[in-house]
């Protein structure tokens, strides 16, 4: 490239006070390849830009260097101007002679010399610049939402309401997640099911939502705008098209005493069942592990009583492939297993609290089911051991949470509030009962949250004791809690009827395997990682994948809903254009020279490098080379620095451009 224009800005006096701009222009005219150089008071002003455009046209310039402020300030301005003059915007570069020169040096001669050097470097760079065309990626305007809890439901409804199709995948037989299990919600104490179930119905009735329950993600291919998802629909043993949801099968099933997981094993269900009466879809599923027909073939009652003939023992798992452009991950949480030896050997349990051994030591979610009007006791709070009403209930916060020793050092965020709520629910139902709470700190930031906690103490008379519990043991019918009140400095012992442990929130089992399928990153606890903790809190680093709810970290319902809507908004932003346009600063592989060592793939944080097979006309595999997916590449260039033969190059920052700058030293 031999016709470069150099435009030197005075920036009022910001540059010209220290840098002799005329001298720089003079020097620029002598530089190889420079066809034109001038200086002007305000290059970024309208007249300045006009001057630039005019010069491009009149001087038939093939590249320009604007020596002015930082490119972080005005690169876009001048590249737009260049484009306006009919030049590819990537043939315009800025020489930073303000922030990096005139403002930081006071000696005029030195500053002028440096400014000249900077201009020379950029001129050499522009001579090696190439036209770059913004990358466009077609966008399939359908979204996948993984997880049918409140997060997934909210995201799915928001996207669907915007007119885009949504594929919602839920692992359990019904959507609803944990929120459907809750009794009342803080800080307003409105009934969880009353606000949740209508939304569940909205999902199933929404024309834009395709619901796959009792299904899991098998594999994920593709990239932003173009994902291909294989979903495994587990065999329900009931034909969803035929089933009317009459429930006769469940009534007649002779297996009636299977512990109901939804009720935290406090109640029972048959082998053909819906997890709870308001389940969506209202289609039963056969639990093949417990069904007599599947165990020894000697039953088949449900098939006989089913009017529409929906029961199908032969049904197989089925694979379905869906094409989507964006993914919202909303897989939620599980509660930390407090027994002696919880699943997953890395984390130790709490033998000292006797959970699993003492029947009247339960976790928070079990208490929710006890307190829920639709729960196994119809909302009556009783002891699991003998069904008696507990008169003294002890709540223990931070069980598992903030316990480095147990491998979890984070705060689970919702326990302070739900424990306060529990004490209130208890007091409302057992007027002569007394609630005690052992806590370390009360963490109640949130609208009306601290007031709620104070109400539990001041109006509902819960006794809060600051201090952790050391041990819980059975003594006759009672459960003795050994704690201490660190404010008073003495030990506290309470003979309780019921002990409720506020256990830590953890990501769902298998969160890591799903992350690996999706190619997204997760922290050491297996919570999914957002792209930026402050500025990109709902996006994954992998483009086109967004996060909602507790799969990213412990969250309460309002936060979860807010994030879900935010994720939906991000999806809609992506879907607002037919094609995704990206800055063309991406890496490109020279397939002729690539030998397929895949060092580039190993260092790519975005999973943008793929293995591409090169075949001859007969289809025989000749070799495998790297391929950078421009839709995924973020343009850091680590691949190029790693590639021994430089068979991958980052457009806009090629070796040739860099070397050209270094040649001027």
């Amino acid at each position: 490239m031999s016709r470069i224009g150099v435009f030197i800005c005075h920036c009022g006096e910001n540059i010209s006070r220290t840098v002799d701009v005329e001298q720089v222009a003079q020097a620029a005219r002598q530089m190889v390849g420079v066809a034109y150089a001038c200086d002007y008071k305000y290059m970024c002003s309208d007249p300045g830009q006009t001057l630039l455009k005019k010069a491009v046209a009149e001087q038939r310039l093939e590249g320009i260097v604007v020596a002015a402020c930082s490119p972080r300030m005005h690169e876009k301005t001048f590249r737009n101007a260049a484009q306006g003059a009919g030049l590819n915007p990537f043939l315009c570069e800025m020489a930073n002679i303000r922030e990096h020169c005139s403002w930081v040096h006071d000696d005029r001669a030195e500053a002028t010399a440096k400014a000249t050097d900077i201009v020379r470097m950029l001129v050499e760079r522009v001579r090696k610049n190439k036209k770059l065309i913004p990358i466009t990626v077609p966008v399939t305007k359908r979204a996948l939402v993984i997880g049918g809890g409140i997060a997934g439901i909210q995201a799915a409804l928001d996207i669907a309401d915007c007119g885009h199709q949504v594929v919602l995948v839920e692992r359990e037989p019904s959507i609803g997640g944990h929120m459907a299990m809750l009794s009342e919600t803080f800080p307003t104490l409105d009934c969880s099911q009353c606000i949740m179930t209508p939304r569940m119905v909205d999902v199933v009735n929404h024309p834009n939502i395709i619901l796959h329950t009792y299904s899991e993600i098998e594999s994920v291919d593709g990239y932003i705008g173009n994902f291909s998802i294989t979903i495994k629909k587990k065999a329900r043993s009931v034909d969803m098209a035929k089933c009317t949801g009459c429930g006769v099968c469940m009534e007649k099933c002779p297996q009636k005493k299977i512990p109901n997981e939804f009720d935290k094993n406090l109640g029972f269900r048959p082998a053909i069942y819906v997890p709870f009466p308001q389940a969506v879809p209202n289609t039963p599923v056969i639990d093949r592990e417990h069904c007599t027909k599947f165990i020894n073939g000697k039953c088949g009652v449900c098939q006989k009583v089913c009017g529409p003939g929906a029961v199908d023992y032969e049904q197989q798992d089925q694979l379905v492939v869906e094409q989507v452009g964006a993914i919202v991950v909303a897989t939620g949480f599980k509660l930390y297993d407090i027994g002696e030896k919880p699943k997953g050997s890395a984390i130790k349990g709490y033998g000292e609290f006797g959970h699993g051994k003492i029947p009247d030591v339960i976790d928070g979610l079990t208490f929710e089911r006890l307190a829920s009007a639709s729960g196994p006791t119809g909302g009556k709070i009783v002891r699991p051991s003998d069904g008696k009403e507990p008169k003294q209930v002890v709540f223990v916060q931070c069980v598992g949470s903030r316990a480095r020793e147990k491998g979890i050092s984070y705060c689970s965020k919702v326990c302070c509030m739900y424990t306060a709520k529990h004490t209130m629910l208890y007091k409302h139902k057992v007027h002569d009962g007394q609630a005690y709470v052992f806590f370390m700190d009360a963490r109640t930031p949130g609208k009306s949250y601290d007031e709620f906690w104070r109400r539990a103490i001041e109006e509902e008379e819960a006794v809060y004791i600051r201090g952790m519990v050391s041990r819980v043991y059975q003594k006759g019918e009672k459960v003795v809690v050994m704690g201490s009140d660190i404010a008073v400095g003495v030990q506290v012992e309470i003979e309780a009827d019921l002990v409720v442990l506020a256990t830590a929130i953890q990501p769902r089992d298998g969160a890591d395997t799903l992350a690996q399928k999706l190619g997204i990153s997760y922290d050491k606890y297996h919570f999914y990682s957002e792209a930026h903790a402050k500025l990109r809190p709902v996006e994954c680093a992998t483009a086109g994948i967004y996060l909602a709810g507790a799969c990213q970290g412990p969250k309460d319902i309002p936060e979860t809903v807010a994030q879900a809507s935010a994720a939906a908004a991000k999806v809609m932003t992506l879907f607002s254009k037919d094609k995704l346009e990206r800055e063309p600063i991406v890496a490109r592989v020279n397939e002729k020279y690539c030998v397929g060592c895949f060092a580039c793939k190993k260092v790519c944080a975005y999973g943008a490098v793929e293995e591409k097979e090169i075949r001859d006309r007969q289809g025989n595999l000749i070799r495998v080379v790297a391929y950078v997916n421009p839709g995924v590449c973020s343009g850091c260039g680590t691949c190029q620095a790693t590639c021994p033969s430089k068979s991958v190059e980052l457009d806009g920052y090629t070796d040739e451009q860099v070397m050209a700058m270094l040649e001027t030293l």
């Binding site: 020279y593 030998v595 060592c597 033969s645 068979s647």
Partner: protein, 315 residues
């Protein structure tokens, strides 16, 4: 090579009787592999034209298996025959390759870099007490003075991880680690003196690129140092470009080279190239506890990182 000094030194002879055993075992294994069509070709060594010498050979016929030998003259690292040396060999189908411990480390590295898959190759590992140094007359016994420098400090006499290990290891004499000693001496010098040392070494370089030709890891289709636009390194055999070439090569081999020292063996100007590679290997071991080629690994030390890596050198 100073021959008189070789003779006057009280020589320690290394027992190479195990090589006879190895030869027999290689032959029968090669024959079996070819007869049973487990592999389509075997890469090994055969006797050269001068008695006692050995050269690489590729055999495809079970009857040719009798040609195969193993001796102290089997210096070549045959791993390059699986990648770049003769591309038509790979086209023959599945291969078996004879590998010493040091060669096996190169094979492991190449697998880690996707150059071939473990299941594509049958590795006949040879228990090796050492091979001749460059310039040794064929047929000479293996002694303190004829053994290659790398073998003096070998830690992989037995190629663990091969499909079959042949030969047996004799009791080994304690040989002085000359390369380590040299490295220590250089380390103790000032940077300026080290520069002087390497400058004089590298300025001799005639850029014949034999080092690159023979290196298992220099398998790039186009070498960065041959590129003209932009020119990373001056391609003419002059001091400046030579320095650049050897620095770039050492950097590209860091974390990959497992010390077969073929570069040094073939260098017509006797530049101690393996010293450089070895130094880098030691640094990587020190910094990241990484040793190249002990087993195929998905990511090498320079294609991976640990958030807790040392950064004491960064302000």
């Amino acid at each position: 090579m100073n021959k008189s000094s070789e003779k006057t030194k009280s020589t320690v002879t290394i027992d190479t009787s195990g090589y006879e055993v190895a030869t027999q075992e290689i032959r029968s294994e090669a024959k079996r592999l070819l007869t049973e069509k487990i592999v389509d070709a075997v890469v090994g060594y055969q006797g050269g034209r001068r008695g006692g010498s050995a050269v690489p050979v590729v055999i495809t016929d079970p009857d040719q298996a009798e040609k195969l030998v193993f001796s102290a003259a089997c210096v070549n690292n045959l791993s390059i025959y699986l990648t770049k040396a003769k591309k038509e060999i790979r086209a023959k189908g599945k291969l078996a390759v004879v590998a010493k411990g040091c060669d096996l480390r190169a094979l492991a590295g190449l697998m880690g870099e996707s150059q071939f898959k473990r299941e594509e190759v049958v590795i006949i590992g040879v228990t090796c007490a050492g091979v001749h140094r460059a310039g040794t007359q064929p047929g000479q016994p293996l002694t303190d003075s004829t053994i290659a420098k790398k073998c003096r400090e070998c830690s992989v006499h037995i190629p663990e991880g091969s499909d079959l290990i042949v030969g047996k290891l004799p009791p080994l004499p304690n040989l002085s680690p000359t390369e380590k000693e040299l490295m220590e001496k250089l380390d103790a010098m000032t940077p300026a003196l080290r520069w002087e040392f390497w400058k004089e070494q590298f300025t001799r370089c005639i850029r014949c690129l034999a080092c690159r030709q023979v290196c298992p890891f220099c398998y790039c289709e186009q070498c960065l140092c041959d590129r003209g636009r932009p020119q990373a390194v001056d391609t003419s055999p002059r001091p400046s470009g030579n320095m650049g070439w050897h620095i770039v090569r050492a950097m590209h081999l860091a974390g990959r080279c497992a010390g077969c020292a073929e570069c040094e063996r073939v260098c017509p100007m006797d530049i101690p190239l393996n010293l450089l590679n070895r130094k880098m290997a030691e640094e990587l071991k020190e910094l990241y506890h990484y040793e190249a080629g002990l087993k195929p690994v998905e990511k090498g030390p320079l294609t991976s990182y640990d958030e807790k890596d040392d950064q004491s050198f960064i302000k």
